[in-house]
Each structure stands twice: as C-alpha cells, then as structure tokens.
C-alpha cells in the first residue's frame, strides 16, 4: 500500500490577514510567499502596511501645540508635593514686575540727567 503525503491546502488572502498586519517586513513562510507572489491584493496589502508603519513612526516627531502654562502647572504640582509655596512667578506677574523695573530705571536716569544739567548750568 502506498502512503501519499497530503498536499498542503493553498493559503487564501484571509489566512494572511493577521500575518501581514503583524509584520509586513517579516520573511514569510514558504506557502505564504507563494500566495503573495501570485496575489496582487496581498501585495498591495503588504505595501500599504509598510507605508502605514512608516507614516505612524513619523508621527512621533510631529510637534504638538502645547499650552505654555503646562510646564508651570507641572511644577506647581511638584511644589505641592514638596510641600512648599510656589516659588514661581506667573508670566503676567513677571511681565508686570519687568515693566515696573524698566520704568523705575528710566525715572532714575532722567532725574540724574536733569540734576547733571542743573549743576552744569
């Protein structure tokens, strides 16, 4: 009696769905390779998964708009954890203080110049 080796059932596109999604760059097993070599749909699917993977990886480098107060808020949370009062000056307060300091400087300079002019006269 002759024993026959069973011929493997040829793969279909559905059989490869997970495999292509798992790793489109992986070296496929022989039956899968045979199917993909003859199947335009699976070739397109594989190419699209590769493109998807590249596009997703590129997203990581895409800058995201960040509210400028976020960093300050994070540091407030850390301050609260450390149990200390915030040592940070909010942006608007810093701008006000800077403005006041500049105005004071201008007044001092103007006063000195006027005094110098009076003495020279």
């Amino acid at each position: 009696m002759r024993s026959e080796t069973p011929t493997p059932t040829p793969l279909t596109c559905v059989d490869l769905l997970d495999e292509l999604a798992a790793d489109p760059d992986a070296v496929l097993a022989a039956p899968a390779r045979v199917h993909v070599a003859e199947c335009l749909r699976c070739q397109a699917e594989m190419a699209n998964y590769r493109r998807l993977r590249r596009s997703l990886r590129a997203l990581a480098g895409t800058p995201v708009a960040v509210d400028p107060t976020l960093e300050h808020d994070i540091q407030l949370v850390l301050d609260a954890h450390d149990g200390r009062l915030s040592r940070r000056v909010p942006g608007y307060a810093a701008a006000t203080l800077g403005g006041l300091a500049a105005a004071a400087g201008v007044i001092v300079l103007a006063t000195r110049q006027r005094r110098g002019a009076r003495l020279a006269g």
């Binding site: 769905l17 999604a21 998807l52 997703l56 990886r57 976020l70 540091q75 850390l78």
Partner: protein
C-alpha cells in the same frame, strides 16, 4: 582629563571639569546632558528635575494627547505622570532611557484616565485643532500630501476605541516593546499583540483602503 563617573549602563556620564569645577553639582543646568540631569535629579536636586520637565514635557504631552484624544485629559495625565516620575526617581534604574521610562508612566496614567472617563462620561467629539504645523517643506504639493496623510492618520487614531488606540500609539508611534505595553496597560502580551493587529487593520482600511474597501472605510 575628563572625570568618568561610573553609573549603570546608559548613565555613564563624562563631566567636564572646566565647565563644572566643583563636580556634578553647581554646573549650568541648560548645558547639562539628560543623563547628567537625571543623575542630579535622582540625587535630590529639584532644579535638575525642573530642567527635565522643561525639555521633555512637549513630547510627554504629545503622547498623552494621542492616547487620550482630549486636551484637558492629556494635561491631567502629564501632570500626574511627572508627579509619579518625581516620586519614584529612586526606582529609575538607568537600564532604559529616561524618555522611555517616562513614556511608560504616561501610558499608565493615560490608561487609568481613559478607564475612568469611560466609566463616567460619554466619548466626546475630537478637537480638530490640536496638532501644530511647523515642518517646512520646499515642495508645496508634496508638503500638502504629507500634512494631509498625517491629518488622516491622526483622525483615524482618534477614532479608534481607546483600547486599540493606546496599543498602536505606544507600539507603532513611540516604539515601546510589547512587554512594556502589556505591563503598563495591565494586559497580557498576546492580548496586546491581538489589539495591535486589529488596530493596524482598521487604520490600514481607513487610510490606505484597497479597491472595494473605500465604502467600508468611511
């Protein structure tokens, strides 16, 4: 000659005595490398951790935003993540990059936050104005294609269910290993892989549909 400070694996740091004559402490924070900052923060220097926050919070927010699809939730997640990182700095072993370690904490916080949100309120429509355009390109049409593809992908990611979204963002965008993703999301590695395949298939069908799939992808 430079002083080589022994530290575990990636945290081998070469300090420059001319810039930092008193040793690690006291050098200019803005000139310090991330490894130096991490070592100083681990040693208890709060200003070093503040500098780490300054350098990394944009990336951390980007990840949180992609995981939660909600700007307010992302803010909360990032604040919680930095607090957790700050509290557990002494457990940072230095066998991974600090950025990867932080990403894992952000992923964990986001997973908790999206779980809470699912329990307490309905999904809201995604905000459309979250991603800034800053990358210059010489070819306007090519540039438009790239931006269009990126917007399509971002939209498709936002529309995924949170359990699929988190896995694909962590694996395919931020390159975290399967075991780290599984651990932070509280699922098995095989569950993470199954979710990943499903997420990839949905994105592929939506962004790169094959002939005949267009109607289903919408």
């Amino acid at each position: 000659m430079a002083d080589v400070t022994a530290a575990p694996r990636r945290l081998r740091i070469v300090t420059n005595p001319s810039r930092n004559p008193d040793g690690v402490h006291g050098s200019n924070l803005s000139d310090a490398t991330m490894d130096e900052l991490v070592l100083r923060a681990v040693a208890g220097e709060r200003e070093a951790f503040d500098e780490i926050v300054r350098r990394t919070h944009r990336d951390a927010f980007g990840l949180a935003l992609r995981l939660t699809s909600d700007e307010e939730d992302a803010r909360d997640v990032v604040q919680e993540a930095y607090l957790r990182a700050y509290r557990s700095l002494d457990r940072f072993r230095g066998d991974a990059q600090f950025g990867t370690w932080l990403y894992r904490i952000v992923a964990n916080c986001a997973s908790t936050a999206t779980g809470k949100r699912r329990r307490h309120r309905h999904e809201e429509l995604p905000d459309e104005s979250t991603f800034a355009e800053t990358r210059p390109d010489h070819d306007p049409s090519l540039h438009a294609d790239v931006v269009d593809l990126r917007d399509q992908l971002d939209g498709a990611i936002r529309d995924l269910p949170p359990r699929l979204r988190s896995v694909i963002v962590l694996r395919d965008v931020y390159d975290l290993p399967h075991d780290a993703i599984a651990e932070e999301l509280g699922i098995t590695v095989s569950a993470a892989k199954v979710r990943l395949h499903r997420a990839r298939r949905r994105l592929r069908e939506r962004v790169f549909p094959l002939p005949g799939e267009e109607l289903h992808a919408i």
